[in-house]
Amino acid sequence: MIPTSDYLLLSGLLFTLGIVGVLIRRTAVLVFLSVELMLNAANLAMVAFARAWGQLQAQSAVFIVMTLAAAEVAIGLAILIAIFRKRVSTEVDPLSEMKG
């Protein structure tokens, strides 16, 4: 059987890819996409842990996370559309009115 740490390493790499993507992507949709990648990396780690411990709770939790992600995507994309209507752009950098 493939050791859990291998899954965890893959999860870590995907997570890193996701967070770098959040930072280097300048379109809101793609930033969102990168966030999904991070979520899935975390899910992978969770499922790997479920097998390591032999517990189904973790899998249930992953299910709930997926549902949350779906809800988040629905709301997030709706917000994106609303912003797009106002600004005719989905870039994140112009959205910088909240300066300190």
Binding site: V22, L23, R26, V92, D93, S96, G100
Partner: protein
């Protein structure tokens, strides 16, 4: 016999009414009210004058500061009316009344007409408090009060910066004198335990150094108020005020308060020979200074201002040499003819729509015959031509000063020559020759003419109260119970020759002025002219010796302040700079915030990694 407190109360009521409800009085009504109240005060003064001849009136009104000088030593508000103060109240209310009436005409177009009369009434009230005070502290109240009135009235047309500055200058220079007066009062209380005038007058006063010091302090106060050397320069600038103010405050009454103070304190000064000689010589030098400064002025009021300084110097000479009655005599006659001169000048200025430069006058005797005539009377009076009032009072002073010191007499007599010169020059520049201006001069209305005539009569005949032709006279005898001193008298032949010399010199001065200015010629005095025009550079001397160092010090302090302020700001800058760096982080860019999240995650995981490495090592 009417209560004395009525005297200051009446004008003070006028002040209150006019300052509070001045706008309710349409047209000249405010002036009429103010004049009527001062006139009433004059009536009261007159009635009291006749009733006070035998016994002085001393009214104690209320206790002001009970127990201030220990048990039983109350500071009380009280008025003291004796022959000296009675004479003074007559001058203040009488001349004041005439000037009030004149002002109704002079100020008729002024938008702040009621306020002007409120201030005038205020002045008269405080001047009467000064005159009638039974103690030095109360006298000081009046002293300061007239200073305030003077300040308010010099700066009455406060829109002009020059006027406001002149008012401030008068105020500040008076403060220097007031400090001397205050110190004198403190020392009097310390030495004699009381400051009440009648009580002090009854005390046996011994000649000692403390007394000399008291008298010198009082002299400093008197110098400030009466614009004597060296605190003289404010009076010329005070001419920035309306002309009736110059007549009332800066010629007839307030500036003579210094003379009155010395005469009132005669029981001190008669025992203080050193201080008295200071008084006399300050007066003599100021008389000379004023006359020299007046010689080449062109402002119609400045000439009169310097002449006032000069005449006040005469009065100081008189009270300095011990001839207190002569000082009071000249005070009275001077009040008449100097008020007349100023009102005549005011009439001219009024007719010429505010023109004050004598170079743009001339020939006004034709268009303003009455003003010209009364001006001539005043010039003759001030120059000491018999039988006008100035002659008698000036002879009294010169005679007394000759008996005191021939040198002082020489200064005074030379000043008399100069006086005749510059006064006739004034008259010739204004009234004779041909008119050099553009306005259309006309004689003023009856409101202004009546006071002129009244003052002209007084200036011409006012000398009758004490002609010192050989021997004693009415005024001297009248004041003797108060001042109680043998005055200085010369032998008859000396007296007569002194009179002859003085009159001759005055005529010589007239001749000199006539030859130079007879047909309205405008020639400056050669050599001395510019010096006189700058008033012997006294203002420049003060500017150099006091103002410039003060400015330098304040400039240096300001620079120091800037250094410290800069240091403070720099500290603040240094402290806020790190804040500005963190501010960069709050750039508003979402990705920068996300970067911080990444950084946080990284640090957390790095920590775990380092721990793990540490554990495995």
């Amino acid at each position: 016999m009417l209560p004395v407190y009525l005297l200051p109360l009446l004008p003070f009521l006028g002040f209150l009414v006019l300052i509070l409800f001045g706008r309710r009085f349409p047209g000249p009504l405010a002036g009429a009210l103010a004049s009527a109240l001062v006139g009433l005060a004059f009536v009261v003064a007159l009635i009291d004058f006749f009733s006070v001849r035998s016994v002085p009136m001393h009214e104690l009104l209320w206790s002001w500061l009970p127990g201030i000088g220990g048990k039983g030593h109350n500071l009380e508000i009280g008025f003291y009316l004796d022959r000296l103060s009675s004479l003074m109240t007559l001058v203040v209310t009488g001349v004041g009344f005439l000037i009030h009436v004149f002002s109704i005409g002079y100020m008729e177009h002024d938008p702040r007409f009621p306020r002007f009369f409120a201030f005038l009434n205020f002045f008269v009230a405080l001047m009467l408090i000064l005159v009638l005070a039974d103690s030095y502290p109360l006298m000081f109240v009046g002293w300061e009060g007239v200073g305030v009135a003077s300040y308010l009235l010099i700066g009455f047309w406060f829109e002009g910066k020059i006027n406001a500055n002149a008012a401030r200058k008068a105020f500040v220079m008076n403060r220097i004198g007031d400090l001397g007066f205050l110190l004198g009062i403190f020392l009097i209380f310390r030495q004699y335990g009381t400051t009440v005038l009648p009580s002090l007058a009854k005390m046996p006063i011994k000649t000692d150094s403390a007394l000399e010091l008291i008298c010198l302090f009082l002299l400093v106060g008197a110098i400030g108020k009466s614009a004597q050397l060296p605190l003289t320069t404010w009076l010329a600038d005070a001419m920035a005020g309306p002309t009736p103010v110059s007549a009332l405050i800066h010629a007839a009454t307030m500036v003579t308060a210094g003379v009155y103070l010395v005469a009132r304190s005669h029981f001190f000064f008669s025992q203080a020979p050193v201080a008295s000689s200071w008084v006399a010589w300050v007066g003599g030098l100021t008389a000379l200074y004023g006359a020299l400064s007046a010689m080449n002025q062109y402002d119609i009021k400045k000439i009169l201002a310097y002449s006032t300084i000069s005449q006040l110097g005469y009065m100081f000479m008189a009270v300095g040499v011990g001839a207190y009655w002569a000082g009071m005599y000249h005070l009275v006659t001077h009040a008449f003819f100097k008020a007349l001169l100023f009102l005549a000048a005011g009439s001219v200025i009024h007719a010429l729509q505010g023109e004050q430069d004598t170079r743009k006058m001339g020939g006004l005797a034709k268009t303003m015959p009455l003003t010209g005539a009364v001006g001539l009377i005043a010039v003759l009076a001030i120059s000491g031509i018999p039988p006008f009032s100035g002659f008698f009072s000036k002879e009294a002073i010169l005679g007394a000063s000759f008996a005191y010191s021939p040198w002082l007499w020489a200064v005074g007599t030379f000043t008399a020559l100069l006086t005749a010169f510059y006064m006739l020059r004034w008259y010739l520049l204004v009234f004779s020759g041909t008119y050099r201006g553009q306005a259309h001069p006309h004689e003023s209305g009856p409101v202004m003419a009546v006071p002129l005539v009244a003052l002209a009569i007084l200036a011409a005949l006012g000398g009758v109260i004490g002609p010192q032709l050989l021997g004693s006279n009415w005024l001297e005898n009248y004041l003797k119970p108060v001042l109680g001193l043998p005055s200085l008298h010369n032998p008859a032949t000396t007296e007569l020759s002194l009179i002859a010399i003085a009159v001759l010199l005055a005529l010589l001065g007239f001749l000199w002025a006539y030859l130079r200015y007879r047909s309205g010629r405008l020639t400056d005095l050669r050599g001395f002219g510019p010096i006189s025009a700058k008033a012997l550079y006294l203002d420049d001397l003060y500017a150099g010796s006091v103002a410039s160092p003060s400015k330098a010090i304040s400039g240096a302090l300001e620079r120091t302040d800037r250094v410290f302020g800069g240091g403070m700001s720099a500290t603040g800058e240094v402290l806020t700079e790190p804040g500005r760096w963190t501010n960069l982080w709050q750039s508003g860019f979402v990705r920068v915030y996300a970067l911080s999240m990444l950084l946080g995650t990284l640090l957390l995981v790095l920590y775990l990694a380092v721990r793990m490495l540490g554990g495995s090592l």
